[in-house]
């Protein structure tokens, strides 16, 4: 193999060598870390909310004036909505997963406990709530209609029987059947009984909800059989028959507005829209990083083409001489491909170090950032080797076409 002459030729233009090597090293470092960030965002965005997102939407209203009674509004609105053809279920709500607005509360195991065991979000709903959300009851029972009460503005007590998510049940009673067991939301108040467990329902803040560094609390939810009748505010989640959501969104908005003129109907949003808004920043970050990766690889590839073309032009005479001395086209081609492979490899080795330096910088900046998994580096190596070889192919082919006669001409 002709590695030795290649290296000695390269050593004659050390600066160019260092420049390309450095460029490849930085490219590897940026691409690996950017790809890792993208993959983490994909993971976040793919987290299941635990609810039916395709056929559900929310709507809220704010009443004003003495003629408006929230309690009556709840009853009338729900009767109206449930009576509409195409509506499968509807429930009063205070908040929804991914809305970034809701109620969080400490969960305690004992009366008078000083520091909560964990934290949870509170979802108020009625006996239709589980069906409307589309989560699955996996143990115990649903709320009964007679258990649904009205919660006043500064009420501090909780109804005695509550449903919790599996994640919370596993945390409170690991390895046991939690149904029938007790916990406290208000450690000074009465014990609360777990009457049922649902499969999954995430909190309204899927990013940023944690308790003493524990991020698994994102699936801790407590379902409370109450309607929050205060502040003149009423909010509903509505689940339609598949495919009828968009049509019913318009109908429900119009009907609620017509039913009572002293109120403002607002916050009409499908849960799919809520999801898109919740993760808009992650999506933006992915698009920005994707654009940077694309531009970076293009610049690096074009840089390699530029330098290789320059070298080919500079060495036209030498190439001619080699050809005249019997080198085949293939061996000229191989020369340039091998040369590029050697330069790239040097750059990549340096790049591996830079990649981890970059990853450590990210960790210092973002508490939640993790160290780059090792497999990104070999994958990056293979991609950049391929990029280098493809970029150099053009100039190398041109070099291989240099006729031996060039050697005899002066430049």
């Amino acid at each position: 193999m002709e590695i030795r002459p290649i290296i000695s030729a390269l050593m004659r233009s050390k600066v160019a060598l260092v420049l390309i090597g450095l460029q490849i090293a930085l490219t590897l470092a940026i691409v690996c870390n950017a790809l890792f960030i993208i993959s983490q965002r994909i993971e976040t965005m793919n987290r299941p909310s635990g609810m039916n997102e395709a056929d559900t939407f929310q709507i809220a209203s704010n009443g004003f004036g003495d003629g408006f009674s929230t309690k009556n509004a709840f009853a009338e609105d729900l009767a109206l909505i449930r009576g509409l053809p195409g509506v499968r279920a509807a429930t009063p709500i205070n908040s929804l997963p991914m809305t970034n607005g809701g109620w969080s509360e400490g969960v305690n195991m004992q009366a008078g406990q000083k520091v909560p065991t964990t934290v949870t979000t509170i979802y108020f709903m009625d006996e239709h709530g589980i069906d409307t959300f589309g989560t699955k009851l996996i143990a115990g029972r649903n709320f009964k209609p007679e258990e649904i009460t009205t919660r006043s503005r500064q009420s501090v007590d909780w109804p005695p029987g509550l449903i919790i998510t599996k994640a919370l049940a596993d945390k409170l009673y690991p390895g046991q059947d939690a149904v029938g067991k007790a916990f406290y939301l208000n450690p000074e108040g009465a014990p609360l009984t777990i009457i049922g467990i649902v499969d999954r329902l995430i909190v309204p803040w899927p990013e940023g909800f944690s308790y003493n560094g524990d991020h698994s609390v994102v699936e801790n939810s407590v379902l409370v059989p109450q309607m929050t009748a205060y502040g003149n505010h009423t909010g509903y989640l509505i689940r339609t028959e598949p495919g009828r959501r968009d049509e019913l969104m318009k109908t429900v908005e119009a009907k609620l507005g017509d039913s009572n003129h002293s109120r403002i109907v607002r916050s009409l949003k499908s849960v799919e829209q809520i999801r898109a808004e919740c993760y808009a920043n992650d999506r933006a970050m992915m698009i920005i990083l994707g654009t940077v990766i694309f531009c970076l690889l293009t610049i690096t590839a074009l840089g390699i083409v530029g330098m290789a073309s320059f070298w080919v032009t500079q060495r036209t005479k030498q190439i001619g001489t080699r050809r005249a001395l019997g080198a085949t086209r293939a061996s000229i081609l191989r020369y340039f491909l091998t040369e590029n492979f050697l330069i790239t490899t040097g750059g990549l080795l340096l790049g591996a170090v830079l990649t981890y330096a970059f990853s450590l910088w990210l960790m210092a900046h973002e508490q939640e950032a993790k160290l780059l998994p090792w497999h990104y580096v070999p994958i990056g190596f293979v991609c950049l080797w391929a990029l280098g070889q493809i970029a150099v192919l053009g100039p190398a082919t041109r070099a291989a076409r240099v006729p031996p006669a060039v050697a005899t001409r002066s430049v």
């Binding site: 600066v15 420049l19 004003f64 503005r153 108040g189 999506r283 840089g303 320059f310 910088w361």
Partner: protein
């Protein structure tokens, strides 16, 4: 001389249009990426009220759970209770002071053409306007008398006045909100602080208010705050119970016009908490804070982590683009060895050749900068499309335009230095011989 070198440079650049385009594009992309992210960081991190940011201070008192700190970093809570806000307002120890909270009220326009709508507002004290200096188009804020009498008065923003009164001078007119009539005392001119620094808890990039009403009136009318509310201990039932609770839901700002006043106010706060400790409140160690505007923005980490990461990555990208340009310039100048040798042989001095080639690099830099500036605009359009709430912060200001041009020229000249120096080292004889 300059114009001659400039022409030589242009001529040389025209000879290899693809190589030149590659260098200009490289610099432009690198500059655009770094300037787009830097603009976000610059605007989000910049002082929103530079003429008095060091005199406005945010009050934090640690009334939190004795068993558990407010956060893992040991900060005191980011808002205060109604009780404490009232005590500080009544004491009135600062030059100016304003407690405030966010409200949402239905506005019922007299004009039947305009449908009732839910408007976000701020309940605060009359000092708010003197402290944060929003510009008024008509009228002004309300005085201490209105604060004391729970006046039914309102200050509208430009947009709300536009909606309700078609932009006319509406001072003295009435606005009905949630079945109560308020008299307009002032209308703001356009006021869009890029960062809503006076209420970071409810979103640094949140929309501006649509109206301002007296705090005391909202408390009398039992208007529930629509912003964040945090409690570590259950409140007693009812509105009175809520007001007396240790729940935090208000912001408290003071204006302190001298360092002596600042020190006095700090010790006043410490005395206040020590007094409260005797009554059984404030069981945590003394941890009161009095950040000024910029300190508060930093403490609340207003610049998102994503933006910081983007700045880091984009500058690494710019480095790659510059290294790329150095390599290409090196190749280009080396290729011109013959010409350089000839010029040297004809009497051009090294400094002259140096000047010539630095100007050539500078031309690439300026073209790259100009193109990069255009791409930065495009980048910011993309950012505004991607991040809905960045509309106010993804804006190029003059500082950043100048910075872009300077950065790209400096970058290109720096990138040109080494290749130029190398080109000047060419011995005339060696080059001429081979011809």
């Amino acid at each position: 001389m300059f114009s001659y070198y400039f022409q030589l440079g242009l001529h040389s650049l025209k000879r290899n249009p693809i190589l030149t385009a590659l260098m200009v594009l490289g610099i432009a992309l690198g500059i655009a990426a770094s300037m787009t992210s830097l603009t976000l960081m610059h605007i989000m991190g910049s002082d929103p009220i530079p003429w008095k940011s060091d005199r406005l201070h945010y009050v934090q008192l640690d009334n939190w759970d004795p068993n558990q700190p407010w956060d893992e970093e040991g900060n005191p809570p980011d808002q205060v209770t109604y009780k404490d806000a009232q005590a500080l307002m009544e004491a009135g120890k600062a030059d100016r002071q304003a407690a405030m909270f966010k409200v949402a009220l239905p506005i019922q326009p007299e004009n039947p053409e305009v449908k009732p709508f839910l408007a976000l507002g701020r309940a605060t004290y009359g000092d708010f306007f003197a402290m944060f200096e929003p510009p008024f188009a008509y009228g002004g804020g309300w005085d201490h008398g209105q604060d004391a009498q729970h006046g039914r008065v309102v200050v509208l923003t430009r947009e709300t006045n536009e909606k309700l009164f078609g932009g006319q001078d509406s001072v003295g007119k009435r606005v009905r909100m949630n079945e109560v009539d308020y008299t307009v005392v002032g209308v703001l001119a356009e006021w869009k602080p890029r960062i809503k620094f006076y209420d970071l808890t409810n979103g640094a990039l949140a929309d501006a208010e649509e109206f301002f009403v007296p705090y005391t009136t909202m408390i009398e009318l039992k208007a529930q705050a629509s912003g964040n509310n945090s409690c570590w201990k259950g409140a007693e039932p009812g509105w009175e119970g809520y007001l007396a609770s240790d729940c935090i839901w208000q912001q408290f700002w003071v204006q302190l016009d001298s360092p002596a006043k600042f020190a006095d106010y700090k010790s006043y706060l410490d005395n206040y908490t020590n007094e409260q400790k005797k009554l059984g409140r404030f069981q945590r160690p003394l941890n009161n804070r009095l950040f000024d505007v910029n300190g508060w923005l930093q403490n609340q980490k207003v610049v998102p982590k994503d933006v910081q990461v983007q700045v880091g990555l984009s500058f690494a990208f710019l480095a790659v683009c510059l290294i790329n340009t150095i390599g290409l310039l090196l190749a280009k100048f080396t290729r011109k060895s013959g010409e350089i040798g000839l010029r040297r042989a004809l009497g051009a001095s090294k400094p002259q050749l140096f000047a010539q080639h630095i100007i050539e690099s500078g031309v690439i830099g300026i073209s790259g900068g100009a193109f990069g500036l255009a791409l930065t605009f495009a980048g910011l359009v993309m950012v505004r499309a991607l991040y809905k709430d960045y509309a106010n912060v993804a804006q190029l200001d003059w500082t950043m335009v100048v910075a872009t041009v300077v950065l790209s020229t400096v970058a290109a000249v720096l990138a040109g230095l080494y290749p130029t120096w190398r080109a000047c080292q060419i011995a005339p004889a060696a080059q001429l011989k081979t011809q």
